[in-house]
Symmetry: C2
Subunit: 202 residues, 2 copies
């Protein structure tokens, strides 16, 4: 049994991740902290330090959050780009950079990208671009993490549980059950793979 | 014959690009402006507006610049990440966003990534990550650019002409002649392809 910190545990993707992690000791965190063990903002290094110190010893960090702005490319403002990059790219890199100081030897980080980098749709250029960035980041940084620490990225399509929110903007997409996405998170946490992109699509 | 703006024309990669573009009318630009027709800073939108207005009518923009910081991931500062993202990612996106307002119908943008996203080496995580981002950006934004405007990315390995500078940090890499990389730039500018990554490696 491992101790796994799940960031974004109260969201639909965090819930999906946890369907594959029930055999572990789960420590939950989210931006609001509501209903979770801890409150954390991945764009704030001091908040991440506080989380990792408070948890103490842990073997894995699973991240299920990354805020994106949606707009046509020609209308997207610098502010919208910075907001998206700060959360989905720099925020997720913060988790690995800071978490590496605290996580147990052989521990793992599991980050998240998203299917819109592979199946582009209108309005989603910032989501897609930062997904491509975090995937390349994981593939490359895996070679230099110390103490056998691993890092993988889950690239899920839309969840059945989120279809009522996102379905209208994703015509022709086939949602998958959160429990299938949970298998990918489990494969990252329980396996020995690193630098991998685990795409879950239908 | 097309009018092609080459940004970074005085650098080794810009020189390589131009080996494939000799049959066109070339307008050169660089950050210093030394020996070029124009001075431009791709991280400054007003500088890009001024360049495109000064050139007037043009059919293609070729970018051969993108500044990257090099450091081990765990030592790379937020400032180093921001510098790299501002130039290689946001700077190149600026070229497309702003240039789209000025470029002729059916015009093309050719951006640059780099082989270290496919063949990672120590110290190059920011280069690799932003290369992955700009490649995904081009693949996805190609679908939404107006007026049949195209966008491609060249992913070159190290140039023979730059081997004296980069060779030591890239053991086991095979440099290619700039004229081979120039073919890829030509294929992007003279072809009808869009949303493509043209990898030039040996």
């Amino acid at each position: 049994m491992k101790t796994v910190i799940v960031i974004g545990a109260s969201g639909k993707m965090g819930q999906a991740a946890m369907t594959g992690l029930g055999h572990h000791r789960i420590v939950t965190a989210s931006q609001s902290g509501n209903g979770c063990d801890h409150k954390v903002d991945i764009t704030d290094p001091s908040s991440l330090h506080a989380l990792f110190k408070a948890v103490g010893t842990f073997d894995a960090v699973v991240n299920a959050v990354g805020y994106c702005e949606y707009a046509p490319f020609v209308e997207m403002t610098d502010e919208q780009w910075h907001t998206t990059i700060n959360s989905k790219l720099l925020g997720q890199m913060n988790i690995v950079k800071i978490g590496s100081r605290y996580i147990s030897e052989g521990g793992s980080f599991t980050l998240i990208s998203g299917i819109l980098s592979l199946k582009p749709i209108p309005m989603a250029i910032a989501d897609a671009t930062t997904s491509g960035a975090i995937e390349t980041f994981a593939k490359c940084v895996a070679h230099e993490l110390p103490r056998a620490i691993r890092v993988n990225v889950i690239n899920p399509t839309v969840l059945e549980e989120s279809w009522d929110v996102y379905g209208e903007m994703m015509p022709g997409f086939q949602p998958v059950p959160g429990s299938l996405v949970g298998k990918a998170f489990q494969r990252s946490v329980d396996g020995f793979i690193t630098g991998q992109i685990l795409t879950v699509d239908a």
